[in-house]
Symmetry: C2
Subunit: 342 residues, 2 copies
Amino acid sequence: MPDADRVLPPTTKDLARAAGVSRATVDRVLNGRLGVRQATVDRVNQAIRDLGFVRNMAAANLAKGRSYRFVHLLPSSGDLFLEELERCIAEAARFSADRLVTDIRRIDANDPHAVARDLAALGAEGCDGVALMAPRSPPVRDAIARLDDAGVPVIPFVSSQGGSFVGIDDRAAGATAGLLMGRFAGAGSGSVLVLSETMTAQDSLNRRLGFDAILAARFPALRVPASLETYGDPDRTRAVLSRAVAGRPDLRGLYVLSSEARVPLDVLGGMDLPRDLVVIAHERTAATVAALLDGRVSAIITQDPGHLARSVLRRLKALSDGREVFAAQERIRTEILLETNL
Amino acid sequence: MPDADRVLPPTTKDLARAAGVSRATVDRVLNGRLGVRQATVDRVNQAIRDLGFVRNMAAANLAKGRSYRFVHLLPSSGDLFLEELERCIAEAARFSADRLVTDIRRIDANDPHAVARDLAALGAEGCDGVALMAPRSPPVRDAIARLDDAGVPVIPFVSSQGGSFVGIDDRAAGATAGLLMGRFAGAGSGSVLVLSETMTAQDSLNRRLGFDAILAARFPALRVPASLETYGDPDRTRAVLSRAVAGRPDLRGLYVLSSEARVPLDVLGGMDLPRDLVVIAHERTAATVAALLDGRVSAIITQDPGHLARSVLRRLKALSDGREVFAAQERIRTEILLETNL
DNA sequence: CATTTTCTGATGCACGTGCCTCAAAACATT
DNA sequence: AATGTTTTGAGGCACGTGCATCAGAAAATG
């Protein structure tokens, strides 16, 4: 083992030697402490550049006794995507190099005041960051602002209305669905149905907006009537779908808008639909993948829950120590899944 | 700051207390050292489960003075994707939490004996792992085996023939291109041209295989003549393309097979092509993205070079310390890019 | 020049884990 | 009981960095 000439990354000790100062001064410069002459600061920074010094974050966090306590607030609905997401969060936390504890709590995301109360309660808990999956509303926004003032960053997670958040843009996801729908449906006129659990949710609205915009701009021959709402009920789904299909001999496509596509896809299996009907659904779950494989679905638009979970943890960490994130790693992609790239 | 009741992840000290043993014994159990009674081992393992203990890898690596020295051997061609990949590798190494040094070297990947020589030379260098992007051939395979025997893991990177490797499956990528081509081209018959730099490269062959298989199975009305080879030459590209287009009034699609799509796409811009020609290209580069945005290209099939770079580093690390990787994070996705999900 | 102020060096402990040594304890064998 | 063997405990140093403290040097001020 020729271990002698191994080039190890430089440490603060190497820096000190190269800059001709002591480790204490290097430390003062690195951590921006006062009382160092500009000339000395420059010498140290020059050495940093010369040696290509990179702070060993693992050692730094160890020394600081840094630990992170994060809380994830997720809606208490039981959809498949959410379950998978929860699994991924727990897994990502376990695999994290740092000492971190994550709490996953289910909240009543649709009651703004309940959410605000839950957020306020977190302030007293001494947690270092919150990932919140709930619609933004004035009470919630205020609660977030108060937490932020108290130094507890809150990251909107997966879905949020307005402002930045971790997750894909619903409008872009809808537009991608629309583009695929138009391309797959081929030239010529026809109609495309949009099936949604409920259109009151903001994410559904945004997807629909993106979908409509693309269809209007690029495929004007395709007509899109008002969305059919299922309220998650299999019987109702069957009923509205049958009625809509019966009335439209020119049906070319079906866009399953909601995140919970299981019920509509199950219903679809038992119906007598036009051959070559283009069906597009959201989120990779056991239900959508099965449907893609047996041909009920043509494409799935999704985001990787594992990536989401890891990304939000990295972002929370970066926020709590005032660092920048490694942007390239945090771009959540709007993925298109076909049979060939599952 | 209610910091008192913060629940910190347990340390080996907590483990020792819970199991009623000393830290030395905990250490023996954790690191599988001999000379501990089974009953004691069980007590410690029980405590690990009870407390949910997870080893602090950062501290462990710090203590071990663990450092990684990896070498990336990349082909010395100058294509855009490769440049981007190189950038990502350097960036990923800088952002790594561990102390690691990566060397990126350009090699003559198409000369099996030269590659084998380069690999052999690495054995004496005392490096901890190699990422190799070169076709597999008998001399190369032997060199890899020798390195492996010497305890230096070698990971085939991005493209490899046979065996597992880090990167997307070329056949699946070709199949995805084929599926999109068939769907986008619509019903009815027509022909689809395949344009490649050269068909001698194994990755081109595999893409073509996947592409053909899907077209034959799902879109038999589309004809795919023999691939047009450009040898990277703009004039030749223009010539073969013009000739092929002129002879085919039924042209519906064009599949740009090679990783270096810049030349064909540039040529395409100046040509008089059928409206609604479906063009599909590989790899996200400045050239392909520009073409997607101005409509010369309909879809890009790609893999994320940043993810590739980070993934191969994590895998090399895991291999050198005999750990398992976090599989979910290492699945390299075959991505489909449209205007709406760039 | 003397004095104050500003800057720097030397040193040490801490973080959680790995790894070592040495002695003490528990156990097994005669 | 005496002996040998295996198992355990106690303690310490190391890794690279953060964060103290204190004394000494250099610079600025009088």
